[in-house]
């Protein structure tokens, strides 16, 4: 995954941290403008390693349950990361310790929390806020949890598991310091923002498609000053019935992963030849002012999904900048022209390079 990709491992951890608010002691500045961070309840259950995947269930708020499945593979000092997340509504009340989550035809969780008496209280509230510190109750979610991933990539049936519920109270925060409000739609839980950050890239190739309700994006970028190689990120999300599904892949490919024509070259061209979990290659070729060819046999294998990354419906773009004249934010080819209609849903979820 490389140095910069380490944050992605933290994706799951970051979600988990929702359940354990805390931070430095804070005194609000007199005269500052305030906002209210509502009280929140969150649940967490680490189901350990199963079929080679790390699995867990997070309830980032009372109404939502997110099952995450991820795998990290190491090759030398580099690693790759793939993950699949499933978000559904919790049909029971977490406040009363209950989880009733149905993951479509893939599985269901019907559990009740049994505290074991261990309680951890935060000493302070998060920075920039005032109010009562959060506390976390530990115990066991008892009941039944069954899941069978697509094409059987993961199966389990459990009579509960150790877990925790975190209670954070209503806080008064300086404006901008409160946690972001939970996403309105389930897609917001499986499509985290800034995944396709383009900051610092001096060469960035990006292709995306939206077909049959599934958004797919692949980005390969080379950062300024870095040795040969490119970060490759792939993501997809979709709504399937009452469940949102997100897939993520990240790998740092070495020499030869991304080759591009120099800045200002016309017609611009590029090739992408990344390592596993991707396979195959893709090529980008400008053919006319508004025509770009994106071809090849590039694919990725996510937990439960093999996804082609070229073919009909994909739209590709290439940005190659000279570091001397690049804005510090790197490539930004979505300012003009405005994003096409087929990518707007992704943009609103923070999935476009920006």
């Amino acid at each position: 995954m490389g140095r910069r990709g380490a944050w992605l491992v933290g994706l799951v951890v970051a979600i988990a941290l929702l359940a354990v608010p805390g931070g430095a002691a804070a005194k609000l500045r007199p005269g500052a403008k305030y906002e209210i961070q509502p009280a929140r309840l969150a649940g967490y259950m680490d189901l350990g390693k199963r079929n080679g995947y790390r699995v867990g269930l997070i309830l980032p708020d009372e109404r939502t349950a997110v099952l995450y499945v991820y795998k990290i593979k190491w090759a030398g000092d580099r690693s790759s990361f793939t993950a699949t997340t499933y978000a559904v509504r919790n049909q029971a009340s977490l406040a009363s310790g209950a989880i009733r989550a149905r993951f479509g035809s893939l599985g269901r969780f019907s559990l009740r929390f049994r505290p074991n008496g261990r309680v951890e209280r935060q000493e302070t509230v998060q920075s920039g806020c005032e109010g009562s510190p959060a506390f976390t109750e530990y115990g066991r979610f008892a009941g039944r949890a069954t899941f069978r991933g697509e094409r059987g990539y993961l199966r389990f049936s459990l009579a509960g598991h150790a877990g925790a519920i975190s209670h954070s109270f209503r806080l008064r925060c300086e404006r901008g310091e409160a946690d972001e409000r939970p996403p309105g739609s389930l897609l917001g839980y499986v499509a985290p923002g800034s995944f396709f950050s383009s900051e610092g890239n001096i060469a960035l190739l990006y292709a995306s498609s939206r077909r049959h309700g599934r958004f797919v994006g692949v980005a390969a970028g080379h950062l300024e000053e870095e040795p040969p190689g490119a970060e490759v990120r792939v993501g997809s999300f979709e709504q399937r019935g009452r469940m949102a599904i997100g897939h993520y892949g990240f790998v740092y490919g070495g020499r030869g992963t991304l080759l591009t024509s120099p800045p200002g070259a016309h017609p611009a061209s590029a090739t992408l030849d990344p390592p596993a979990p991707l396979s195959g290659q893709a090529s980008y070729q400008e053919e006319a002012a508004d025509s770009r060819r994106w071809a090849g046999n590039l694919r990725i294998e996510f937990p439960g999904l093999k996804l082609p990354l070229t073919g009909p419906g994909f739209r590709a773009r290439l940005c190659v900048l000279n570091p001397l004249y690049a804005p510090r934010t790197g490539c930004d080819f979505f300012k003009a022209p405005p994003p096409p209609a087929d990518e707007r849903p992704a943009l609103s979820l923070g999935w476009m390079p920006r």
Partner: protein, 312 residues
Amino acid sequence: MRLRPAAVVALTLAFLACSPAGAGAAGRDDGDSNKKLLRIELEGSNGYTVSIVSSARQRVTVLATQEGVEGAPSYAAEYLVQDTQPSPDRIKAKVPGLGSIAVSFQPRGRVRHPTPPGCKGRPPTVQPGVVRGTIKFVGESDYTRVEAQRAEAEIEEPRGWRCHPGAKLEVERIRRNAEWTSKLGARTLGTYFIARKYEPGVIEEGQVLFLAETGVRFETAAGRTAYIVYRRATVTAPVSAFRDARPERIVISPPPPFTGTATFFRTPESVFAWRGDLAIQFPGVDPEPLAGPEFEPDYCLREVGCIRQHLR
């Protein structure tokens, strides 16, 4: 004694920037301002000046310099060896294979308190005198030679002042640093190259200043450091020697003592590379390559910014 180059040495680029007060000779330990320094200056063959300075921590520096005039290159070679004589008024040291120094100082004349520009604090005490004994130094392939039994010398006691001795050089260096318009550097462990382009009239005999510096540690068969040598060469050239109209492809072709050319360019991987057969020919030693895959280049446009490339 059989010696071998054991390692390249990290460069500071401070070469000549910190030399003791009077003579402008260099000593890399001269920042230790509370130690007495014995300084000897001699005339070597082939237009070289040879300075010998015993500095703090029992180190002796032998510095051979040749100032370039009318566009000719300037050379400096600095040999760092161990002084086996702890007394501040004596030097006993060997530069294995190149010479030896065994002298003692005798004061002559009145103590001075020089205050060269660029120094702060209490002026040092400088006691003029002579050294007697044996001084013999023969540069590699005889590029310069000096032999003497007696030489003018002085002992300087810094008395707590902080100084970048040779302040004239320093002032000039600062001025040159301030007025470049573009520059291209390439470095690897033990070797540094830079080309700086100036507005017309800032430097003499051209518009581009080329500089190369290397550092090598030689060790004995037993693995002990015999000496460390830093070499530097600078030369000026017309603007045509540094063609940077396109920042994605810059060609450097400096005049002697440099040979060959090197190109800074962007690869299809968006990595900036520095390739070519550019080399520096220091007096008396084999040419040293200044381009290749092991070099990390950087290019800067004064009013715009820099392109840097890391290898790891």
